[in-house]
Symmetry: C2
Subunit: 243 residues, 2 copies
């Protein structure tokens, strides 16, 4: 446990991601968003629409991280089983929530509120609702688990709703340094020396190819701006010495 | 265990994905690719560049699925620790592999083969190499775990190298049906009836919004083309009845 550190996991629920049908954009969005408010995402998992899989992943993740953010599986169809799985993971009951039902009725006419749509008002006992200004059907928050929709636009407004209520860590700062077209092998030894000299920083090298040429970047991350600036200066000097 | 079913997990290794810096394109590519050759991806995990995390995830996944495909962490820098973590997970030694070294020397001049670059020739004992026609440094395959690079172009050629050697399941077929602009709540009950009538199929509803309007799709998936066609026809008839 690092002081000032708040950790999170993202649990993406949905067969459509695992089949390669849908590209999961949510976990990237959430990780990026959380980092801006000082919360570190330490794990992402994608599991199918299978209750025992969701329960097992949820229990593994909620015991390890300060927060778990789930996406997907809270709509009206038979494969939307997230709310029941969350209730099971927490060992609590689940029933139709009058607050959630009232929200649904802001958008759905009473005569159109069929059994399937009413399922979206099923909320585990003791959960707080998460607002959904777009399509009204709420997410919820129970213990350290925040349950959100899978549709990106809806997930994003739900995250906006919970963000102000989250415990924030000390914001993580970063410096990205272009590796001047050098291959990783040329600067790996220098970078290892830097990692040893600045153990309080996370130092990564991210190789990529652009038009067949190396376009590598070095990223330094940490909570102390002065330490970060000193390390960045030493990194740049190290690279200039190799160029 | 379903007969003819071959399962896989993808393990993405890298702080850069968890920080939201880099968008993971590999797991989507792999899931889609595997489905085409009859292998079902059942779980995706993203873990940081921390040995104990990689070992724990690897051991959890390799015991549950027929194959595990990892990406990332096999370059020359200090944060590239995947090969060591895999050796540890399997309880085997790791050393410089003459075959891997020979491959590196196809691209790197002997005088440029420094200690950092030589690390890319470290391969767990008993592993087979996976070819990398792009930048030569190989991946490897040990037990049911295939270890590939994180750079997408390199990962993709490595996957091409291993694909013909994998056990393939019966190819999964799918039908995607537009929900005619209907909201999920309108067809959820009908879809649940269909799911009960065709228990051998996976039936999902995938909501999305386009320009503020519902653009939902229903996807039916299974191994028997005749069953799939019959279910698709019933789905279309059900939707037409609601339109």
């Amino acid at each position: 446990m690092v002081e000032g550190r708040v950790t999170a996991a993202v649990l993406v629920i949905g067969d459509e991601i695992l089949s390669g049908r849908t590209r999961d954009a949510n976990s990237h969005y959430i990780a990026h968003y959380l980092l801006q408010i000082g919360i570190e995402t330490r794990e992402i998992r994608v599991v199918p629409d299978v209750e025992e899989e969701i329960v097992a992943a949820l229990n593994a993740l909620r015991s390890r991280y300060d927060y778990v953010f789930t996406t997907g599986g809270i709509g009206p169809t038979h494969d939307d089983i997230t709310a029941d799985a969350v209730a099971k993971a927490f060992g609590v009951g689940i029933s139709e929530d009058p607050r959630a039902l009232a929200l649904l009725l802001e958008r759905i006419k009473p005569e159109d509120l069929n059994a399937a749509r009413r399922r979206m008002a099923r909320i585990p006992d003791g959960a707080e609702l998460v607002a959904n200004p777009i399509s009204k059907a709420p997410g919820f928050w129970i213990g350290n688990v925040v349950v959100m929709a899978g549709v990106p636009a809806v997930m994003q407004v739900m995250l906006d709703d919970v963000a102000p209520k989250l415990a924030h860590g000390v914001k993580i700062l970063s410096e990205t340094i272009d590796a001047l077209g050098l291959p990783e092998g040329a600067y790996a030894a220098g970078l290892m020396d830097l990692a040893k000299a600045f153990p309080q920083l996370s130092i990564g090298s991210y190789p990529s190819l652009r038009e067949g040429k190396f376009f590598n970047q070095i990223v330094l991350r940490g909570r102390d701006g002065d330490v970060l600036a000193a390390a960045a200066e030493r990194t740049r000097a190290m690279l200039r010495g190799l160029d």
